[in-house]
């Protein structure tokens, strides 16, 4: 009950965003569907006439379908950049197969005796197509459109990764922030949308053969209408910021930028995976990144000075289940061996090797340990098993590999790694559920995303490194029986970033500079 009320509260409070995301979601789904119909239907008709081309066309569309959606979006970025265009293209490609296949099946399944009698009466091929084949195939074609619609509503959530909007902004924001209400505020409307659209189409499908001729007129008009909802959120000229879903929902992120700095600029939501490249390619001007990210170096970006200290410290430290530490007391000193060896620039360099030079995280970690003389040949590993988890980015992969080698080299424990556990919520849940024994966490994330510290607490802690660490350590132990070990030493805090050249030419060094520029820029219009 409590949960529901607070979900409702969240949705009312965020109703503006919810509405615009829903509208964008409908728009994305319908535009891509419309294009898919406009392309798929003629293609399906064509291959029904030319059976030899059918296997080729269906084969290609089938292969497109098997590409994982996130990968397909990834392929789109180098070709089409970010925003609506690649999202719609990807969705269009997904919708294509069911539409082509069902058109083909529907038309080839029309009883040849019927088309022959149509020919025998003197109907032209076009008349036969329009009055006989399409109406008779329409129920099957509509079934294809229904499939495509449901697929598209689902895949459109991923559009949030490439700055195309939609309900994925809440869903992925919620996952990143460990905020169930936020996830539900995105997921429930998305599910409802799929159900409602599917239901509407099922009504159309049930209107019977007789009205199929009308359907073929009404459907495109309806889709066109729904598509027009989608207004592409770009205004040219101003600086455009791209923030991750997580950043968008955080007090120490976009919300703080608005309240503390009064920053008001055009923003889109985008995945961390493509953000840096998009900034480099001038698709975005300002991004929210992590200060140790290797791509900072790769794409020649600079961080803006957080002159009002809204970004709390994000010192990385291993978080371990207390039970495990008690069972294997030798573990703690081993896990603290990294302390003092890695500062911000070292970490950026390591990340750069993985993210940009595409070296394996295992190799980078190993080379580093060897260079610091921390590497030991593995022991027997027969005393027990330690399961290490990591979030889905390079820095965590590197750290996990280092911990693995350290544990294996300094204890008799064997190590399983579970890398790529998505965001904070997934890692944290895995740890509290005992599915993993340890993962590297950042003090700021623990404070805000997991403990959800209230305003008063934040105020009292300020941005102080020690205070935040001690608070987090204490609370984790009390609430979850989880142990924060000594921080490694680098601070992977949030930072706003810009292209070096642009920042210099606009003379922007700090977030306040950026705010001033953005405000003046807006006033000029």
């Amino acid at each position: 009950m409590d949960e529901q009320q607070s979900l409702w509260a969240f949705m009312t409070q965020q109703s503006g965003k919810l509405w615009s995301q829903t509208v964008a979601h409908i728009g994305l789904t319908c535009i891509s569907l419309l294009i898919a119909i406009a392309v798929g239907l003629p293609l399906g008709i064509w291959i029904a006439r030319r059976k030899k081309a059918a296997w080729l066309v269906l084969g290609v569309a089938g292969i497109l379908q098997t590409i994982p959606s996130i990968a397909l979006l990834g392929f789109m970025i180098p070709l089409l950049g970010i925003g609506a265009l690649p999202a719609i293209t990807a969705l269009f490609l997904y919708a294509l197969l069911p539409i082509i296949r069902n058109t083909y099946t529907g038309i080839t399944n029309v009883d040849p005796a019927i088309t022959e009698s149509a020919r025998g009466m003197g109907m032209t091929p076009w008349q036969i197509l329009a009055s006989v084949e399409l109406p008779l195939a329409m129920p099957v074609i509509l079934a294809g459109i229904r499939t495509a619609t449901v697929i598209n509503v689902g895949v459109a959530t991923l559009a949030a990764y490439i700055a195309a909007g939609g309900l994925g902004e809440f869903i992925f924001g919620g996952i990143a922030l460990n905020n169930t209400q936020m996830i539900l505020a995105g997921a429930i409307p998305a599910a409802l949308l799929a159900v409602v659209l599917d239901f509407l189409l099922s009504l159309v499908q049930k209107t019977g053969l007789r009205k199929m001729r009308k359907v073929s007129v009404i459907l495109p008009v309806l889709l066109l209408l729904l598509s027009s909802f989608y207004l592409i959120p770009y205004t040219k000229g101003n600086l455009l910021a791209g923030f991750t879903p997580e950043f968008m929902g955080r007090e120490d992120g976009y919300l703080g930028l608005k309240t503390k700095y009064g920053l008001d600029m055009q923003t889109v939501v985008i995945s961390d995976a493509v953000m840096y490249k998009a900034a480099f390619e001038k698709k975005l001007d300002v991004i929210s990144g992590y200060s140790t990210d290797g791509r900072l170096k790769a794409f020649d970006l600079i961080t803006l000075d957080d002159d009002q200290s809204i970004f709390p410290p994000y010192y990385a430290a291993p978080v371990v289940r207390t039970a495990v530490l008690n069972q294997y007391p030798e573990l703690q000193p081993v896990l603290e061996k990294l302390t003092g060896h890695i500062n911000d620039s070292v970490m950026t360099e390591l990340n750069y090797r993985v993210d940009y030079l595409k070296q394996a995280p295992e190799r980078v970690a190993h080379d580093f340990l060897v260079s610091k003389k921390l590497f030991q040949t593995p022991h027997s590993g027969n005393k027990g098993r330690i399961r290490l988890g990591s979030k889905i980015f390079a820095e965590q992969y590197i750290l996990i590999q280092m911990y693995k080698e350290l544990i294996e080299g300094n204890t008799d424990l064997a190590v399983d790694t579970k890398t790529g556990l998505g965001g904070t919520k997934i890692c944290f849940d895995a740890l509290t559920n005992g599915e993993i024994d340890m993962y590297p966490e950042y003090t700021g994330t623990g404070l805000l995303a997991i403990l959800k510290a209230d305003r008063a607490t934040l105020q009292s802690l300020g941005g102080d490194r020690e205070k935040v660490y001690n608070y987090v350590k204490q609370e984790f132990l009390n609430r979850y029986k989880l142990q924060w070990l000594r921080p490694i030493g680098f601070n992977n805090a949030y930072a706003l970033m810009m292209r070096r050249a642009q920042a210099q030419s606009l003379n922007i060094h700090s977030i306040t500079d950026l705010k001033n520029h953005a405000t003046n820029g807006n006033h000029r219009h």
Partner: protein, 316 residues
Amino acid sequence: MIVADHISKHFNGIEAVSDVSFRVGAGETMVLLGTSGCGKTTTLKMLNRLIEATSGSIEILGRRISEEKPEILRRSIGYVSQNNGLFPHYTVSENIAVVPKLLGWAANDIQEHTERLLEQLKLPENFRQKYPSELSGGQQQRVAIARALIADPPVLLLDEPFGALDPVTRASVRKDFAELPALKQKTMVLVTHDVQEALEMGDHICLMDKGRIVQSGASADLLFKPANDFVRSFFDQQRFLLELKIISLRSIFNVLPNSKATYQYYLTTEQNLWDALEILSVRHLNEVIIRNEKGESRSLAMADIQRAYHQAKQQG
């Protein structure tokens, strides 16, 4: 008038129809008869270019069909396909209206014609708004016939129009069809494998086998003067019945004795020896009266039937 001149059809090198020629006079009915797979449908479909002939030429109403636009050609040729081919998503009246609409008729014209045809084909008025799936096989067949006839085409192509029906329904649909006033001046090609149907409806029969015409001519020729063993054996199963059926009472009327008796049962000269034999046997009669159009009467006894039959056989 239809003239087929040495037409052949090859499907991927297999000869479905080879070197077929025939001529159907205006207002005549020609029957294509033969066992399954002998090429009847293929021959028929070449006439409205649903199948393009591999070689040979076809003239309909004095024009070579290969020089006409297929769609335009077909609108002037009524066609009933082997399986009725009604549009499942059209009502009965919409189905019937297809060709008139293609020809650009006015709506009330279409309606008038539809009503009249449905009535002639014994389909109730309220059937107009029904869909084909709501009709029985026989009713569907009547609709298919109405659809082929609505625009009053001079030429009619019928591919086993009564083929899928049970014998009773078949007879009744055939009877109603044969009685249609619109049918009188039509040039028709009828495909069937039913020998009785062929004899009853055809002025002229082409018996086909393996894609070729084995023999063509009037039914009596095929029965009494078979060109070869195939033709002979084709009719053997029902030979006696058929032979009696094709000898009309008219052909023997003049050699029969005048009748003085006034029996209750009489036959007309339109009927045949089989009908006479049936009456004599079923009613246990010695003679039956035959009347012609002029009102003259003759009497016919069992012996006359035998004589006429043997005479016909000898002439053959």
